[in-house]
Amino acid sequence: MIEVININKSFGDTQVLHDINVTFEKGKVNLVIGQSGQGKSVLTKCIVGLHQPDTGMIKYDGRDFTGLDRKEKKAIRQEIGMLFQGSALFDSMTVEENIMFPLTMFTKMTKKEKLDRVNFCLDRVNLSGKNNLLPAECSGGMQKRIAIARAISMKPKYLFCDEPNSGLDPKTAIVIDNLIREITYEYDITTVVITHDMNSVIEIGDNVLFIHNGKNWWEGDRKSIITTENEEILNFVYASDFMKEIRSSMQEKRK
């Protein structure tokens, strides 16, 4: 479980996050949604420690992360897996080396044990046998799956996914979504997904946090987001005229 308590963050005179309070539950896929520039990525970077919040507290299973120094944070960071928007695979390393990297850095596993773990993770994301490819030789969807394999190689307790579907076709996006959901349930981890993609919200959103103007605007689940009357959410969910028409016709049918 990750608790975000009264987080505020400014860059110069611009306040990006205003008193954000939210709890991301264990064993569930927690989505953070909102329009571009509303502070979703900044919130995630504050949670994982890439940005230091101005005020507030982040707790990982009760452990205060914000008050720790660099060395103390390291221990918690080794429990975090992260899938970046652009995958962030190390382009000078092969697929195998990418996945093996955290194991080499932080475990005393033998070469064979590490290789077994790499093969297990690759198998888990349906990429068995792709060990010797370079990231540049892989498609966007494959790169995301490799990044997921790397993220789970250390058996993380917390998984962060920053727009995991960006740049992917709808079918591949669903594959990635399902993979994230399966891994969350299978390993009982706390997963936080930043997304714009409404398909993802409907597909995997156990808990949904809507951020608007840097504020915690709305919380609920994937069903209630469809039925809410909150205007900002409706503008986000039904952004196009076509979707608005569909919603109107649905409401008329209900009447």
Binding site: V48, G49, L50, R70, K73, K74, A75, R77, Q78, I80, M82, F84, Q85, G86, A88, L89, F90, D91, F101, P102, T104, M105, F106, M154, F160
Partner: protein
């Protein structure tokens, strides 16, 4: 300044550090041998020819050509000019490599894993260059002298014997030490400045290019200033 302290933190895993150090020695050092060899040979040849062409006085012994070629090469041309060339080659390479890693979130990925990205990426580059640049400069000194000999003997301006007498005359090992001390300082400046610009790159591909340019310009200026200060401190 804080960045330098973090860079010199103890590496997370010595085995990984050793692997990266050898990689950087190959990447930064060994891969620079061809350009250093080419530059040094021609530089030595030109110094010898210019010295010979400017020696009009019959009172000056012929071996002076070898003496001046050696002194210019060891004191200035090899350590400073070759370091300026390396600032261009290695500096732009380091800045763009780290800058690209920054803009593609690879450095964030390292940090989130709990890896000290500065120590992991920058320390092997600094150590590799500080270790290998002096070897490159000694190599450069040797090839410059060979270049001088080739140009003089092929053009018939001096014989091999007089040239060798010249390069052996009034030799002081202190001058070589001075050159190597300068080289170590220049190596540190080139890689640390390039790493700084790369690490603090913000934006995209265009900004990576700008960082690389800034790194080369700043490193070159730093070399010239450090050269002046070190010459004052050591030679005078």
């Amino acid at each position: 300044m804080n960045m330098i302290w973090i860079v010199f933190s103890v590496p997370e895993k010595w085995g990984v550090f050793r692997e990266r150090l050898f990689h950087e020695i190959k990447f930064i050092g060994i891969n620079s041998i061809p350009i250093v060899a080419l530059m040094s040979t021609f530089m030595g040849g030109v110094i010898a020819l210019q010295t010979a062409s400017n020696m009009d006085s019959p009172l000056l012994p012929e071996y002076t050509i070898g003496y001046i070629t050696r002194s210019s090469t060891i004191l200035e041309f090899s350590p400073t000019i070759i370091s300026l060339i390396l600032a261009g080659k290695v500096g732009s390479n380091v800045a763009s490599e780290i800058g690209t890693m920054k803009t593609t979130e690879q450095i964030d990925a390292l940090e989130i894993m709990g890896v000290n990205s500065l120590t992991f990426l920058v320390l092997p580059k600094i150590m590799g260059s500080v270790f290998f640049f002096p070897i490159l400069i000694i190599f450069s000194m040797g090839l410059s002298l060979v270049g001088g000999w080739l140009s003089l003997t092929l053009s018939g301006l001096a014989s091999t014997e007089t040239y060798i007498v010249g390069i052996r005359s009034f030799f002081e090992i202190g001058n070589v030490v001075y050159a190597l001390v300068k080289t170590v300082v220049f190596a540190f400046l080139i890689v640390s400045i390039a790493s700084f610009y790369g690490y603090y790159t913000k934006g995209g591909a265009l900004d990576v290019g700008k960082s690389a340019t800034r790194a080369v310009v700043s490193a070159s200026i730093a070399i010239l200033i450090a050269n002046f200060i070190l010459t004052q401190m050591i030679l005078l």
